[in-house]
Symmetry: none
Subunit: 204 residues, 4 copies
DNA sequence: TATGAATGAGACTTCATTCAT
DNA sequence: TATGAATGAAGTCTCATTCAT
């Protein structure tokens, strides 16, 4: 299934994935055209199709890469500290991800919006494992009376929802505030406010 | 701009808008086809196009209808009570909206994801007004020391983000938990947890 | 599965089938292009695709129509007379078919050459039934000592092979003799010679 | 036109021709792809194209090779014996050819079906010569009252048609009888029946 | 001699939209 | 108001062929 990949193959595939992320983020799967992706990737359409058999393969590649980055982000989470430290760090990481992978985040959001036809399986496996683990940690905190007795999954969803919102809905946010996460001040303000509310919301 | 609309026109246009909401939610603007919408609306394609000049008009119609419903939801907010009552009520309303207008919410999300080409203007006007007003109210609370000094817009975004997440990302949520907002118990649990955290997060 | 077919639909579908027969006979399935068929049928490509979903559907339609005509030809065979009359009549019918349905015969030949991917099932059912019946009749003749004891299927194949040859290999025949079945004299000569040899070959 | 050909060239060209025969037989000229041929020949596509300038050249090569083999088969015919011996031997040779060069036979059939654009010239020359000679021999027999007065070319076509039928239509034959020429018993039966009928058909 | 990489031409197919009734 | 029929534009994908090494 996997061809041997030479240096140039790796480079070009990566080029395509990056271009694909950008275009799919902007136009969705159907809206994106191979032409656009090829143009951004700086290669001819048939050459692009030499590396990825068809449009869907590019899309899957983009999704997998994004999901992997996201999973990695979630896994880098240090759970050894206090709940305050840990949650602060978690939110920080997610905000960073939203800022640094805005396009990927949107492709991801689009896929979920359409019912996650491609990602469903992966989400049910890899992501589920991570959520289960986080849930366990949070339950431990609750048992130790370190945080209030809230439902762990909804806390997790809250953090995901908010941080992702700044990436996915940035058009709306920009229209309303004139700012995006790219604005350093705005970024810090958002992170700070969210962290504050969540921490005060759960810590005893 | 407005033609005189006979009874049957009104009925059929509404049929189309509902069908459009469903289909656009599932496949996005480009992914949706007029055929699909016509089929769901129970009329022939040319007949549908008799009511809406082209695909984009249907889309705009759906977006406007959804936005109006959402604005109405936001406006129904009673600001006369205590912050606790008010915020609780606000979150409740938004959760209801997510549950009862899942499809519309997704069409809306999709539009924002793609940069809100159609809605941008409306958002900058109608929604901005509402946000400004809410901001003023929240600032009043802060000044009166009724809630902690947090940045109002980010509080608003948080609430929007979380409640919308349950509609837009329900595929992911369902994969991870097996539940959706249609499940009464899950719905209440989600609403309760979110309300708790936010209230504890902002109240003094 | 079958739509209601209006007059114009029937007419246009038949136009397409005829054009398809001509083009598929000349260029084979892959070699044929929808453009060519549409051109011959006198309609635009998308309009043609309004009647047949894709190229393969046209092909299947052509094959089925040809097979049906052929089966009908085989069934019109009168088995009540003497072997001499019956065989003479059978060969005559097949020769007629080759002359009057040259293009269809070639499409058919092409399909068989490629392994009959589409027709295999039909051949195994309808045609098999006919062959079995013919075989029974021939065996009866043999038992009654009306013809020599030859293997019936090979006799049948012989007749098919020869008559079909004049349609399918007419390019070769024309190169070698300068004539085709369209030439009345040549047609009669061919039919007469073949009938003679076969009759003398099997009659006692 | 002829380059000096090294050992490896000869070997590789032969590999390509064999692969080409197989693939062209299965899919026809347009249906065959160079990739497929290269794969069967066990070499890369550009390497294959180093030996044959383009697809058509491979096709021509295959056709020429097949035609040569066929002509050789026809020429090996011993005309010195009695008509019975000679015809029996001729049919035998042709049956052998069909069994041993099934794929080539089909490529040939395909070419003729499409109007013999490539072979037409060769057929008009080399094959014509052979047919003329055979015709002369048969006419001699008729004049000597050794066989009945039938039209020689149609006798020749009959034999070609029948023997070729077992190669070209083997898909149909297999569907109807479950056998192919590869089955020794079936092969002998077919040859015997055909020989019998033809001999009885022409001998006085 | 051999092969990864690249491309232009062309085919199939979809789909929004219009026509005619 | 309603709909079968028709079409142009556009997009996906294949494939013979060439390039560069």
């Amino acid at each position: 299934m996997e061809k041997k990949r030479s240096r140039i193959q790796i480079i070009n595939q990566q080029k395509v994935l990056e271009a694909g992320t950008e275009i799919f983020a902007k136009y969705g799967f159907r809206g994106a055209t191979i032409d656009q992706i090829a143009e951004v990737a700086g290669m001819s359409k048939p050459n692009l199709l030499y590396y990825f058999k068809n449009k869907k393969e590019i899309y899957i590649g983009v999704l997998e890469q994004t999901l992997n980055k996201w999973l990695q982000c979630l896994m880098e989470w240090e759970v050894t500290g206090t709940p305050e430290e840990t949650i602060t760090n978690y939110i920080e990481k997610k905000f960073e991800f939203s800022r640094d992978h805005t396009a990927g985040s949107r492709v991801f959001a689009n896929e979920i919006l359409e019912g996650a036809p491609i990602l469903k399986t992966l989400l049910g496996e890899d992501l589920k494992r991570l959520v289960d683990e986080d849930t366990r940690v949070i339950k431990g905190w609750i048992k130790d009376k370190k945080i209030r007795p809230i439902d762990p999954v909804h806390l997790i969803f809250m953090i995901w929802a908010v941080t992702q919102h700044y990436a996915d809905f940035s058009a709306q946010i920009e229209t309303l505030t004139g700012k995006t996460l790219a604005d350093e001040v705005f970024y810090k303000q958002a992170k700070k406010t969210v962290t504050q509310i969540i921490l005060n919301g759960v810590l005893i």
